[in-house]
């Protein structure tokens, strides 16, 4: 597995119904980590919404996967993949906590930098 690249972004925590209103430019994929949390890729600030907690996030790294790499990664996934696109799946990849963001034409394997070495070692 090649070295991962930094995946900077913004984490936003707030009430579910508030986060449902997050609107971002199309080049900023929005990953819904939980009902009360989203991660917006890239340089983005959701200004003017006081009820949310918004923090720069520099702790993620990841891989934008080719179709071949995606197939390889999926060999190491034990859980069912969502059918719709785009979709975020979260769970263990080769035993490492990770996230998979799947779109029609691309996929992102996202992991905390603290775990990246484990994933690199386990995905030969």
């Amino acid at each position: 597995m090649r070295a991962p690249e930094p995946i900077p972004g913004t984490r936003i925590v707030g009430a579910s119904e508030v986060l449902d209103q997050v609107r971002v430019p199309v080049d900023h994929p929005v990953l819904r980590f939980a009902s009360d949390e989203v991660f917006v890729l890239g340089d983005f600030r959701w200004t003017g919404v006081e009820s949310v907690l918004e923090e720069d996030e520099r702790g993620f790294v990841g891989w934008w996967l080719t179709p071949e790499e995606t197939a390889h990664v999926l060999h190491h996934v034990e859980w069912p993949l969502p059918g719709e696109r785009p979709a975020l799946a979260q769970g263990l990849v080769a035993g490492v906590p990770a996230r998979l963001w799947l779109d029609d034409d691309r996929a992102l394997l996202l992991v905390h930098a603290a775990y990246a070495h484990e994933l690199v070692a386990r995905l030969p």
């Binding site: 707030g14 907690l53 923090e55 996030e57 520099r58 702790g59 080769a94 035993g95 775990y115």
Partner: protein, 730 residues
């Protein structure tokens, strides 16, 4: 189909014909692939298992012979010993999903698969003859398949078992001789051109196989090693028939081992595997379970001891726990119990795996826990650190000289990587209310810019973690927790947030932020060189620009010296670490590992939750009542503490000192000739010139003088070092 050739059998050349399995080739040569017993040549029994290319318990009847194989029979009198492991290979696991998994490629399996397809469902047909050897069904249901290219874990919504039937094998005198075949095995061998010699048949003779049918029931098989004659009994009396081979068709039993390991799962059995078959006559003598060696006498023994339920008979006699998982013995055990209980019991449960798999196959795709690395991991390794696992992270234990690291903290300045601490942001209109309920300290009295050490208690008033509360604004806080306790602390907070329904946002920043502890009497001087001329005062914190990056600096002290915990983005941690080391070079700076940190904090008497505490440790037992504000109307654990505060307690954590070397942590504490507790932390302090310890006393009255390691020790209230705390506040 393999061409003819030779392989090694117990070190001797063994020829085979095209299409032969190993077992077939051995029988063709007049031998037996094991050490006697009926051969089914269908994978149902364990009579043919052998070590093949270093792997034991391989069913030779299912393994094609090919040039160069090395086959060793298992010992006749016990399990195979350890052998040099074959060259390791990585077993790949392929995960897949389907609506319906059909196991068995016979008519019933194919029909079930077609029916499911017609219903619009995705179907996987798993047929052993096509290379899909199903060895287990687990919850999910997940079907575990062994293939030539690795293991396949197939998750299915429904599983259909269509595996047909196995043939009943004989139990009685002589049933472990060579030369015994089931009817199906005889037909396969005949079709492969194997000469069976003078063959006789008990039961319906297999079509087309030259043999002499014998009337009546089987009485015994005679011979030395190999069968030489069979004795049958009919209305005309007993008849002894000389022979080279006995072909046995004694009935059928469902080949349902896979469904028997899948209770409560959506597994359906179809075809002949689902049918009921008459049980054989109850055995009266001989080996019932050839895999384990359980005899009829063994069954009688367990029955007499009161084990009369089929699962208990299995456990007590071990019948059904061997290579074939009861495929051979189950009908006989049921018949034997039926003869005593009046009716046949249900079949016993089967356990995965139904076929022997190697440890590599079982462990394929199973991973050790993933341990996290801080962004400074490579810096530590480059500095010669011995890394070890703590609380789910790799952390530096020392950098080669923990006493030098200790002295750097006490006398100069040192850096510690504390990125592993739990770090959370709590914000929102109800943030104060939430933290007031969560912590035993009065959070409302913490002013913005200030911080406070706090215990985290559960409802029973037991200490579950500790850390700092840093108030940033009226409604925003940063909390820290221990490295090992951060995950539980988050779950704990989220549970209570949901329960209380408060308007609060919680964000875990543990892996988003790194943290470096700058500690020592020259720490402030170092920070000034990095651009922070006025660092926060003791128990204050501030958002500052340090070495060109936005940092959150918290002034506290775990080491007993002035300490500044610098929280910063993980992607700039190496830059900050290197920068601080360079700036402090002439100050005698060096990093310290956990070994030094544990010693430094012990001199101050600071506890480590999980190391010095136990599961039911209260603040009172730690001597930390000062961390609890019982004037607050409510907080988690308050009612339990109020209820127990007036009761006598027989446990306390105390400070201890003694001359000489420190005892091992865990050493027993003695008083009056009895063990009264144990040491939780110990360190031979070079500063104090004696050993300092924390330890539990669990017997009252609490003695002031004790013995540890056969040496006298004294109870000494901590802190042992700088009791006024002047250095930490300097």
């Amino acid at each position: 189909m393999s061409p003819s050739g030779r392989f090694l059998l117990d070190g001797m050349a063994q020829t085979f014909e095209p299409g032969d399995t190993i077992a077939m080739a051995v029988v063709r040569a007049g031998g037996h692939p094991g050490h006697g017993g009926t051969l089914c040549l269908a994978g149902d029994c364990g009579s043919c298992v052998a070590r093949v290319d270093g792997i034991a318990y391989v069913r030779t009847c299912l393994t094609p012979a090919h040039e160069g194989l090395a086959v060793e029979r298992h010992p006749a009198d016990g399990p195979p010993g350890w052998a040099e492991a074959p060259a390791s290979r990585t077993i790949e696991v392929h995960h897949a999903e389907t609506d319906v998994a059909v196991i068995g490629g016979g008519p019933a399996g194919r029909a079930a698969a077609e029916e499911a397809r017609q219903a619009g469902r995705s179907v996987e047909l798993l047929d052993g003859a096509s290379g899909d050897e199903v060895v287990a069904i687990y919850a999910g249901p997940t079907v575990i398949v062994r293939r030539a290219d690795g293991m396949r874990h197939l998750r299915a919504r429904d599983v259909i078992v269509a595996t047909g039937t196995a043939e009943i094998q004989p139990v009685g005198p002589g049933s472990r001789l060579e030369g015994l075949l089931t009817a199906r095995a005889a037909r396969r061998l005949h079709e492969a051109g194997v000469d069976l010699g003078r063959a006789v048949a008990i039961g319906p003779p297999p079509e087309g196989v030259p043999c002499t049918p014998l009337a009546g029931e089987l009485v015994r098989l005679e011979g030395e090693g190999r069968v030489a004659a069979v004795v049958t009994r009919s209305a005309d009396g007993e008849l002894r028939s000389a022979c080279d081979t006995v072909i046995l068709d004694l009935g059928r039993s469902p080949r349902d081992v896979l469904s028997r390991m899948a209770d409560d799962l959506p597994v359906t059995v179809v075809g002949s595997a689902a049918e009921a078959y008459p049980l054989p006559a109850p055995p009266t003598a001989g080996v019932v379970c050839p895999c384990v060696g359980t005899t009829v006498e063994d069954l009688e023994g367990v029955w007499e001891r009161g084990f009369r339920e089929v699962e208990l008979v299995k456990r007590a006699s071990l019948a059904g726990t061997g290579t074939c998982q009861g495929s051979v013995c189950l009908p006989h055990v049921r018949a034997w119990i039926a003869a005593r209980a009046g009716e046949p019991p249900p079949p016993f449960t089967a356990r995965p795996a139904s076929r022997q798999i190697t440890l590599a196959e079982a462990a394929a795709d199973v991973h050790l826990d993933a341990f996290r690395r801080t962004p400074l991991h490579d810096e530590h390794v480059a500095a010669g650190a011995r890394m070890d696992r703590f609380g789910g992270w790799w952390r530096p234990w020392h950098y080669g000289d923990h006493l030098a690291e200790y002295r750097a903290v006490r006398e100069a300045v040192s850096l510690g990587d504390v990125s592993t601490l739990g770090k959370f942001v709590v914000a929102g209109p109800d943030a104060v209310e939430f933290l007031q309920r969560l912590y035993p300290t009065d959070v409302a009295t913490i002013r913005p810019g200030r911080s406070r050490y706090a215990l985290l208690l559960n409802e029973r008033g037991h200490v579950i973690d500790d850390g700092m509360i840093c108030r940033e604004t009226d409604d925003r806080f940063v909390l820290t927790f221990t490295t090992g306790g951060a995950g539980n602390a988050e779950a704990w907070m989220r549970d209570w947030l949901e329960t209380w329904g408060l308007d609060v946002r919680l964000m875990d920043r543990t892996m988003s932020l790194a943290a470096i502890n700058v500690t020592g009497p020259r720490a402030a001087e170092l920070l000034a060189r990095a651009g922070l001329a006025e660092p926060p005062r003791f128990l204050q914190h501030a958002r500052v620009e340090l070495a060109g990056m936005a940092c959150h600096v918290m002034r506290l002290s775990f080491t007993g010296e002035a300490s500044f915990e610098i929280h910063h983005p993980v992607d700039r941690s190496v830059e900050l670490w290197r920068g601080l080391l360079a700036l402090g070079e002439d100050l005698g700076i060096r990093p310290h590992g956990l070994q030094a940190l544990f010693a430094l904090r012990l001199e101050k008497g600071h506890v480590i939750v999980g190391m010095d505490t136990e599961l039911d440790t209260t603040p009172r037992r730690l001597g930390m009542d000062w961390a609890v504000n019982m004037e607050k109307p409510d907080f988690l654990g308050r009612s339990a503490l109020a209820r127990t505060s007036g009761q006598a307690d027989h446990r306390r954590l105390v400070g201890l000192t003694m001359d000489g070397e420190a005892p091992m942590e865990g050493s027993t504490i003695w008083a009056g000739g009895a063990v009264i507790g144990h040491v939780t932390s110990a360190f031979a302090s070079p500063t104090l010139d004696r050993a300092v310890m924390l330890g539990w006393q669990k017997r009252t009255p609490f003695p002031e003088q004790v013995e540890i390691d056969g040496r006298p020790a004294s109870v000494t209230p901590p802190p042992f070092y700088d009791p006024e705390g002047a250095r930490a506040r300097a």
